[in-house]
C-alpha cells in the first residue's frame, strides 16, 4: 500500500470520526456572523458532546429495546458510511467496500432506527418529525441515487473511489452532465444535513421540526450519539460534493491538501444559503428535491447524447 493511500485512509478516519462536528460548528459560526451576531465558536459542537457525555440518559415511560438501541444503531451505521466514503481517488478499501448504493442503504438504516424509536415512545412530536423525515427521504433517496449515477456514468463504475478519480480535473466545469449532477447533489446536501430551506436546525418549536423531532426525548450519551451522527452526515455529503462534483486535482496529495479548503468553502456556502433563504413549507420540499432529480436525469440524458 502506497503512502498516499495510507494517508487517505488516515484522513478519512480522523476527518470522518473526529473532525466532523467541526463542520456544523463552522456553519453555525458563520451564519451568526452573517446575521450580525457574534455566535458560538466553531468548537461549540464538541463542547456540547462533552457535556452530553457526562449526563445520564433518560428512558421515557413505556420505552423499550428499540428506543434504547436506536442511537447505537444509527451511530454505527454512519461509522460504516464513513468507512465507505473516500477522501481521495486512491483510498484503500476499509472492509465495507466503496459502493455508492451501500451509502444510500446505510443512511436508510439510520433513518429506520430513529423513526422506529419514535414509535416506541409514541411521542406525538417525535412521530411528526419522523413521518416528515421519511416522506422527504423518498425524493432525497431518488435524487441521491440519480446524482451519484451521473458520476458513475462519467467514471464508468459505481465505486466511489473510482468516481473521485474518474471525475478529477475541471470536468465539472466543462461537462454538462457533471454540472447538472452537481446542481442535483446540492439539494441532496441540504436535505441530508437538514438545513434551510428544507429544515431549520436551530428551531425550538416542536411543531416545525423534521430531523430534530425524533431526538426530542433523548438525553445524555444517546443524544450525543445522534448529534454526532448528524455531524457525520455533514462530512459524508460534503466530502462527496467536494471530491466528485467540484473540480478536484488528479494527484492524490493535492486532492487531500485541497479537501479542507473545499469543505470550508462548502460550509460557508451552507451558512450563506441558511442566511438568505427562509424555511419553506414542508409539503413543497419533496417538489424542490425532486427538481434535483430532474436535473440529474437531464445530466444522464446529456451524457448519453454526448456519447452518440
Amino acid at each position: 500500500m502506497s503512502a498516499a493511500s495510507l494517508v487517505s485512509a488516515a484522513v478519512e478516519l480522523v476527518g470522518g470520526l473526529l473532525l466532523a462536528p467541526l463542520l456544523p460548528g463552522l456553519v453555525q459560526h458563520w451564519k451568526a456572523r452573517l446575521q450580525g451576531r457574534r455566535g458560538p465558536s466553531p468548537l461549540q459542537p464538541y463542547r456540547e458532546l462533552r457535556r452530553l457525555w457526562g449526563k445520564s440518559t433518560v428512558d421515557p415511560a413505556g420505552s423499550g429495546l428499540v428506543y434504547r438501541w436506536a442511537p447505537a444503531v444509527a451511530a454505527s451505521s454512519v461509522v460504516a458510511a464513513v468507512l465507505l466514503v473516500p477522501v481521495s481517488g486512491n483510498a484503500p478499501g476499509l472492509g465495507v467496500g466503496r459502493d455508492m448504493f451501500v451509502l444510500a442503504g446505510l443512511l436508510a438504516l439510520a433513518r429506520f432506527a430513529v423513526a422506529a424509536a419514535a414509535w416506541d415512545i409514541v411521542g406525538g412530536f417525535s412521530l411528526m418529525g419522523a413521518s416528515r423525515d421519511l416522506t422527504i427521504a423518498v425524493s432525497t433517496e431518488a435524487t441521491l441515487v440519480l446524482a451519484l449515477a451521473v458520476g458513475a456514468l462519467v467514471a464508468g463504475t459505481t465505486s466511489l473511489t473510482a468516481m473521485v478519480a474518474g471525475t478529477a480535473g475541471t470536468a465539472a466545469w466543462s461537462n454538462p452532465a457533471l454540472a447538472l449532477g452537481a446542481v442535483s447533489f446540492a439539494l441532496v446536501v441540504v436535505a441530508e444535513t437538514g438545513r434551510q430551506p428544507i429544515d431549520n436546525p436551530d428551531t425550538h418549536l416542536e411543531l416545525t421540526m423534521i430531523h430534530e423531532g425524533p431526538l426530542l426525548e433523548y438525553a445524555g450519551r444517546d443524544l450525543a450519539y445522534l448529534q454526532w451522527a448528524a455531524a457525520v452526515r455533514h462530512w459524508l455529503v460534503l466530502v462527496l460534493a467536494a471530491q466528485v462534483f467540484l473540480p478536484h486535482a488528479h494527484s492524490t496529495w493535492i486532492q487531500l491538501g485541497v479537501l479542507p479548503v473545499a469543505l470550508v468553502v462548502l460550509c460557508a456556502g451552507l451558512a450563506l444559503t441558511e442566511t438568505l433563504t427562509a424555511k419553506m413549507r414542508i409539503l413543497l420540499v419533496p417538489r424542490l428535491v425532486a427538481l434535483g432529480g430532474i436535473a440529474a436525469l437531464l445530466g444522464v440524458a446529456s451524457w448519453l447524447v454526448q456519447l452518440t
Binding site: 478499501g93 459502493d99 442503504g105 406525538g124 421519511l134
Partner: protein, 647 residues
C-alpha cells in the same frame, strides 16, 4: 443422487397428505409434509450448486414428462425453503377438526402442484399444473371461510386469473407450435410470433405474478387465506409465475426487440412504486403485506427488464447479473414475505383482528414472534445487512448499467427505473417503520392485545428459522450470485466472488458490513452506560399522553398523502353536527381509493354487464327465433360464398 432425494421428498409429501385424512395422524402428516419440503429444498439447492440436470428435456409433444435443470432446481429449493417452516407452522395453527384436516391435506397438495409446474417438461403437464395452482388456493379459501365477502373475493380471483390467464395458454401453445417450447429452435428477433408469445406470456403470467395493472386479484385473495396458505401464495405461487416469465422471455425466446424490454421495465417500475404506495394506505396488516408482494414482484420484474435490455445491447455479462438480481430477489422475497405472513398469522391468533391501528406492543408480549417479525420488516425495508438489501443492491447495479451500455432511450428509461427503485426503497422504509410501530411497539391499543400470549413452539420455531434465513441470505448472497448468473442461457463466465466484487461496482462485502454493524452497535450500546435518570412521561407540551391521542396509521402517512394528493386523489368527509351554536359531534371519514380498480376495472366490468344485457335480448327462448337465426346464418354464408369471400 439428487433425483433420489427429490423422489423421497415427493414421497414424504404424498404420505403426509394421506396421513392428514385421519384426526389421529393429522399432526404426524403435517410433520411428514414439512420434512418432505425440507428434502425438496436440499435437493433443489444441491442440484443448483452441482449444476446437475436430470429427467427429460423440454419437448413440445403432449405426453407427460418431468425433469430438473438449473432454473427448476433453484425454484424447487425456494419452494422447499418456504414450505418446510410453513407446514411446521401449520401443525399447531390448524385445528384437528374436519375443516383443518382438509386444509392440511390441500396445503400439501398445493406444494406438490407448485413442484409439478416447476418440473413439467411438456405443454400439457405445465398447463394442467398451472390451472391447478390457481384452483387449489381458491378451494382452500372456500374451505376455511364461508362468508359472502370471501366468496366474492374468490370469484374475482378465479375470474381475473382465468380471463387474463388465457395469455399463458396462448404463449405456451404458440411456443409449442413454433418449436420453441424448451428453446430448441430460435425465432427471428422481432418476428411477429416472438412478439406474440412474449406479450401473451406477459399478460398471462404477469397476472399470476401480480404485476400492475393486472394485480387486482392479489390484495383480495391473499389476505383471506389461512396464514400458511397466504405465506405459500405470496412466498412461492407468484414466484412460479416469475419462473414462467423467466422461462419464456429469457430462456426460450432469444434476443427480444428493445421496446419489449422497455415495456417490461415500465411494468416493473409501475408495480414497484404503485404497490408500495397503496400498501401505505392499507389498514389491515395482511392486506398491506399483499400490496407489498406487488411491490416486490415489481422489483423482480425491474431486474428482468434490465436483463432483457442489456441482452439486446449485447452486454451479456451484466445481462446475466441482472437475471441473477431478479432471481436473488425472488428468493429473498420468498423468505421474508412468508415470515411476515406467518408472523401475521400468529398475531391474528393471539389478538383477534389485524386492524393496524388497534394492535401495538406485541414485541414485549410475544418476543420470539415479534423479534422475528422485526427482522422480516427490516429485510423487506431493504436495509443492510439483511437479505432484502443485497438483492436490491444487485438490482440497482443492473439498472445503472443499462445507461452504461444503452442508447439515449433505454439509457434514460434505465435511469428513471433507478430513481423509481430508490424511491420504492424509501417508501418501503416509511411503510415498515409504520408497521413495526403500530404492531410491535408502544402500548397495547386494545384490551385483548394486552393479554396476548406467545405462540406455541412450532409456530415460533418456523418464524425464527425464516428470520435466520433472512440474516444468512443477507450475509452470504455472494455464494448464490455466481450459480444464478450461470443460469442464463447465453453462457458467460461471471466472476462473482464471496464479497460480490463485481466489475464496474464498488463491491458489496456483506460480511464486512455485517461485522462493522454487528460489532459496533453493541459496543456503542454498552458505552451508553447504565446511568439512567428518573423515568419521565413522553413530552407532549404538558398534556397528559392518552391512548386516544396515540398516532394512527393515517396520521403517520398524512405528509405523503398530501404530497401525492394530485395523483392519489384521496377522499375525505367531515360532518359537523351543531345545535344551538355548540358543536355536538364531528365525524370524519377518509380513504384513498384504488385508482386502477376504480378507473380501469370498474368501467370494464360495467360495460361488460351492459353488453351482456343487450346480448340477452338475442336469447328469447322461442324455437322459431333460433330457427330464424340458423336460416339467416346459412343465407349469409351462401351470399358470402357467392361473392367469393369464402370457399
Amino acid at each position: 443422487m439428487t433425483a433420489a432425494v427429490l423422489s423421497a421428498a415427493v414421497a414424504l409429501l404424498g404420505l403426509g397428505i394421506a396421513a392428514c385424512a385421519a384426526a389421529r395422524t393429522f399432526r404426524l402428516g403435517l410433520t411428514l409434509q414439512s420434512a418432505g419440503a425440507g428434502l425438496l429444498a436440499v435437493s433443489g439447492f444441491w442440484a443448483l450448486a452441482g449444476g446437475t440436470t436430470f429427467g427429460s428435456a423440454f419437448s413440445g409433444a403432449f405426453t407427460p414428462r418431468f425433469g430438473v435443470d438449473g432454473l427448476t432446481a433453484f425454484f424447487l429449493g425456494m419452494l422447499g425453503l418456504v414450505a418446510a417452516p410453513t407446514l411446521a407452522f401449520a401443525s399447531p395453527y390448524l385445528a384437528t377438526g374436519p375443516r383443518g384436516r382438509v386444509i392440511g391435506g390441500l396445503t400439501g397438495a398445493f406444494v406438490l402442484t407448485l413442484a409439478e409446474v416447476l418440473c413439467a417438461r411438456d405443454p400439457f403437464t405445465f398447463l394442467a399444473g398451472w390451472e391447478l395452482m390457481t384452483l387449489l388456493p381458491a378451494a382452500l379459501i372456500l374451505v376455511s371461510r364461508s362468508d359472502d365477502a370471501a366468496r366474492r373475493s374468490v370469484f374475482l380471483y378465479v375470474a381475473v386469473t382465468h380471463i387474463a390467464g388465457a395469455g399463458t395458454w396462448i404463449a405456451v401453445l404458440l411456443a409449442a407450435h413454433a418449436g420453441v417450447f424448451g428453446g430448441t429452435s430460435v425465432l427471428a428477433r422481432g418476428s411477429g410470433l416472438q412478439i406474440a408469445i412474449a406479450l401473451a406470456a406477459l399478460a398471462g403470467m404477469g397476472t399470476k405474478a401480480g404485476v400492475m395493472p393486472l394485480h387486482s386479484w392479489l390484495p383480495r385473495a391473499h389476505p383471506i387465506a389461512p396464514a400458511p396458505v397466504s405465506a405459500l401464495m405470496s412466498g412461492v405461487m407468484i414466484k412460479v409465475a416469475i419462473y414462467g416469465l423467466v422461462r419464456v422471455l429469457v430462456d426460450w425466446l432469444g434476443v427480444l426487440p428493445l421496446w419489449l424490454g422497455l415495456v417490461v421495465l415500465a411494468l416493473g417500475a409501475l408495480s414497484a412504486v404503485g404497490g408500495v404506495v397503496y400498501a401505505l394506505f392499507q389498514h389491515d396488516l395482511k392486506r398491506l403485506l399483499a400490496f407489498h408482494s406487488i411491490e416486490n414482484v415489481g422489483i423482480i420484474v425491474l431486474g428482468l427488464g434490465a436483463c432483457l435490455l442489456l441482452r439486446t445491447r449485447g452486454a451479456d455479462a451484466w445481462a446475466a447479473l441482472a437475471l441473477a438480481a431478479a432471481l436473488l430477489h425472488t428468493l429473498n422475497h420468498a423468505a421474508f414475505k412468508s415470515l411476515l405472513f406467518l408472523g401475521a398469522g400468529s398475531f391474528e391468533r393471539a389478538v383477534g383482528s389485524l386492524e393496524l391501528d388497534r394492535i401495538g406492543g406485541l414485541l414485549r408480549r410475544m418476543p420470539w414472534t415479534g423479534g422475528a417479525f422485526l427482522v422480516g420488516s427490516l429485510a423487506i425495508a431493504g436495509v443492510p445487512p439483511l437479505n432484502g438489501f443485497a438483492s436490491e443492491w444487485l438490482t440497482l447495479q443492473a439498472l445503472v448499467h443499462v445507461p452504461v451500455y444503452g442508447g439515449l432511450g433505454d439509457g434514460l428509461a434505465g435511469a428513471l427505473a433507478l430513481a423509481a427503485l430508490a424511491a420504492t426503497a424509501a417508501l418501503a422504509i416509511l411503510c415498515f417503520v409504520k408497521v413495526v410501530g403500530l404492531v410491535l411497539l408502544g402500548p397495547p391499543r386494545r384490551a385483548s392485545v394486552a393479554e396476548a400470549a406467545e405462540a406455541p413452539v412450532p409456530m415460533r420455531a418456523a418464524v425464527v428459522a425464516l428470520a435466520g434465513t433472512c440474516v444468512a441470505l443477507g450475509v452470504v448472497p455472494g455464494l448464490l450470485v455466481a450459480p444464478l448468473a450461470r443460469l442464463a442461457p447465453w453462457r458467460v463466465p461471471v466472476h462473482a466472488t464471496f464479497a460480490l466484487h463485481l466489475p464496474g461496482t464498488g463491491s458489496l462485502p456483506t460480511v464486512g458490513i455485517a461485522l462493522v454493524l454487528g460489532l459496533l452497535a453493541p459496543l456503542l450500546f454498552v458505552m451508553r452506560g447504565k446511568r439512567v435518570a428518573a423515568t419521565a412521561p413522553t413530552w407532549a407540551c404538558g398534556q397528559l399522553v392518552q391512548p386516544q391521542l396515540a398516532w394512527t396509521s393515517a396520521g403517520f402517512t398524512k405528509p405523503l398523502r398530501l404530497v401525492l394528493e394530485a395523483v392519489l386523489r384521496p377522499e375525505r368527509e367531515i360532518a359537523v353536527r351543531a345545535s344551538g351554536g355548540v358543536v355536538q359531534e364531528v365525524s370524519y371519514t377518509g380513504r384513498v381509493p384504488h385508482l386502477i380498480d376504480e378507473r380501469v376495472y370498474a368501467p370494464v366490468v360495467r360495460s361488460a354487464l351492459v353488453t351482456a344485457r343487450h346480448a340477452r335480448r338475442l336469447q328469447t327462448g322461442r324455437l322459431g327465433t333460433y330457427v330464424g337465426y340458423l336460416i339467416a346464418l346459412v343465407l349469409v354464408l351462401l351470399a358470402a360464398a357467392k361473392a367469393g369471400l369464402i370457399g
